[in-house]
Structure formats: C-alpha cells, structure tokens
C-alpha cells in the first residue's frame, strides 16, 4: 500500500492533469490522462490492484504502470503506508468516467525552479506577526 509522502509533497489534479511539488527538493512534476487516474487511485485506495481488471489492461500496460509507480517511489512522491481515507473519491470517479483510452503514464520532472522553491517557504508564517496573513 502506498500513500502521499506528506507533508513534503503537495499535489493537485485539475482538468485531468496532476501537478506535484516536493517541498524538500524543489522539484515539481506533472502527468496526465491515465497517469492521473493511477495517481488518484493510489491516493484514494493506496493500491492500483483493481485497475488491471477495470480497464482490461494487458501485460505491457500493467508493466508500464508498475514502472510509473516505481518512479513515484524513487522521487519520494509516495511512500509505503495506509491511506487515511481523506482523499477525493469524487475526483477519482470523475477521472475514470472521463477515460477514453489507455495512455502510458509518464512522470515529467522539472528542476528549473528549485532555488526559488527552496528559498520561498522559509519565512514569516508566525500567526501573530508578519505575513502570510492575508487581509482580514
């Protein structure tokens, strides 16, 4: 079983595309289409064991998904653990209902903003003084 490597990793899926940010490394990632389905299935269920049957995946496709999950582990975007059940099941349902055809899940990694991302969050987050309290 796998879970999000929280709190080091934050993520969001919108319009079928998932963006992840690893706060410790400053790397960010994207994938879409079937990759987003695999990701959200992991977030909701912790496992992709059902996908093979649900989408009638062949051996090669199953292998590609295994590789994709390995890359998520290698990049420390997920870790072993038990899902808390707080993830968005509606989002998963929406992604599945929008499924048209299988595409190889590809993890795209970007490191061009590392310096900025690593520098940015270490700052005034004190609740009693300074930012980032937005106008009340």
């Amino acid at each position: 079983m796998h879970v999000l490597n929280s709190p080091d990793v934050v993520h969001e899926t919108m319009d079928g595309e998932t963006i992840l940010l690893h706060l410790k490394t400053g790397n960010y990632y994207s994938f879409d289409r079937f990759g987003a389905i695999v990701w959200q299935t992991l977030m909701v269920k912790g496992t992709v064991i059902d996908l093979e049957e649900k989408f009638e995946l062949n051996e090669e496709q199953t292998y590609e998904i295994t590789n994709f999950i390995s890359s998520l582990l290698d990049e420390e975007l997920i870790k072993e653990g038990t899902t808390t059940g707080e993830e968005d099941e509606e989002l998963l349902a929406s992604l599945i209902s929008g499924f048209k055809r299988y595409t190889t899940p590809m993890l795209r990694k970007y490191s061009d903003m590392q310096e900025l991302l690593l520098l940015d969050p270490i700052h005034d987050v004190d609740d009693n003084a300074g930012w980032p309290e937005v106008g009340k």
């Binding site: 934050v10 963006i19 940010l21 903003m113 520098l119 940015d120 270490i122 004190d126 930012w131 980032p132």
Partner: protein
C-alpha cells in the same frame, strides 16, 4: 531646495513589523552608495506599533499606508509608487549588506544587456529563536537570493512583465513573477556575493496550509501551461 531624482527606489512592505523594521531600515540608511535612494515603506494595516516606528524616521522614508491587503498588493503599491530608474525591495525583517545596492547598480550600469541582477543570501536564525535550538540546514544557509529582496531591477522590467499577481496570497509571488519574466526573455545575473541577510524567525517552517499549497501549485500549473502554449505556437 531641489530634490534629486532618485536612481533607486526600494520598497519595504510592512505588516506588524515592529520587531525588526528599524534594523531593516538601518541597513538601507547604511547603504554605501552615492546615488539618490528613495525608500518607500508601505504599511499594510499594521496593528502593532509599526506606524509609530515609521513616524520616527523623519524624512528619510516615504510612508504609504492602506488597510490590510496582503504582501502581494502591498509590494505592488510600493513598486507602482517608485520613481527610480531601478527598483528594489526589502522585506521588513531582512537586511541588506551595506554594499548591496552599489554592487548591483554597478553591475547593471556596466552590463546594459542584463535586465535584473540578484546576489547570494545568508539565512540566519533570529536571536529570539536561538533558545529553540533551531538550525538552518547547511545546504540552505547560503543560497542564491532568488526573491524580491535579492534583486535590483531596471524599471523597464516591470513595464514588460507587469507587477505581482495579486491573486496569490504570498507564497509563490516571486516564483510566478520570475517565471513570467523568464518566459518573456528577461535576462538576469547572480552576483556571487552574500549581499542579503534573511531572517528566519518562525518555528513552523515549511508547514504550508492548504491555501498556501494551492498558491504554489497554481503558479506551477500556469508556468507549465505557458510553456505548452509557447511550444504549440
């Protein structure tokens, strides 16, 4: 008496900055630069004694005030009011090295093809946190100062790129602006010297609230979309 046109305008956004703002301003007063400096402090509706401290600065600074709107809008207020040919910013709890503006101005004046220049920043634990035993990871102690405080910008850069996206809460404001600047071909250089000191004074470092997480992801999503759109052109 005539006033010389400032060459550099420095914006200091301030919200409840009573603990550190005098040190911040002193680091600006101590700049070893022979050019006219305009210091604009924008008080973002502080509820502590920031306003009193600013009132004691006499005529050394220009103070703008508005109700609390957040750092993005506040910094923009200062940038928009700036009349210098070069713009800078300094967060109210950070410090410039005394040579920061001179070194950066010299660089831009000698390198007309470069639009903005940064430096290195040394992060330090604010004295009141010393007892907490918090330490800055070695790899983060000295970094490239890729944030608004670290830069000196030709005013033309803001005409080209625009100002800070005010829909962001504060996280990712520079990242978004810088990404847009790069996409528009704005050039920059990083001076390999520590010219900025950045104060770390929080005990909840790195724990982003969900709204702050969304800001980061929004910025990155927009960046990737721009790259995709440019590729498709």
């Amino acid at each position: 008496m005539t006033h010389k046109q400032p060459v550099i305008s420095v914006t200091v956004p301030a919200y409840n900055a009573q603990n550190y703002i005098q040190e911040c301003l002193d680091s600006l007063y101590n700049q070893k630069i022979n050019q006219e400096l305009e210091i604009i402090v924008v008080n973002d509706g502080s509820t502590d004694v920031t306003a009193d401290i600013l009132a004691k600065q006499n005529s050394k600074i220009k103070v703008l005030s508005h109700e609390n709107r957040g750092v993005c809008k506040t910094r923009n207020t200062g940038f928009r009011a700036s009349i210098g040919s070069y713009l800078a910013s300094l967060d109210a709890d950070d410090l410039y090295h005394q040579d920061k503006l001179k070194r950066q101005l010299d660089y831009l004046q000698n390198n007309p093809g470069i639009d903005m220049v940064f430096c290195k920043v040394k992060q330090f634990i604010s004295p009141e946190l010393a007892a907490s035993g918090r330490k800055i990871p070695k790899s983060l102690e000295v970094m490239n100062a890729m944030n608004f405080s670290g830069g000196l910008y030709r005013s033309s850069v803001f005409e080209k790129v625009g100002y800070i996206d005010e829909s962001l809460h504060s996280y990712g404001e520079f990242i978004d602006w810088f990404a847009r600047a790069k996409d528009l071909g704005v050039t920059y250089h990083i001076i390999d010297e520590i010219l900025l000191k950045r104060r770390v004074h929080n005990t909840n470092l790195g724990k982003l609230k969900p709204s702050e997480q969304i800001d980061y992801l929004k910025v990155l999503r927009a960046k990737l979309k721009r790259a995709k759109d440019m590729k498709n052109e």
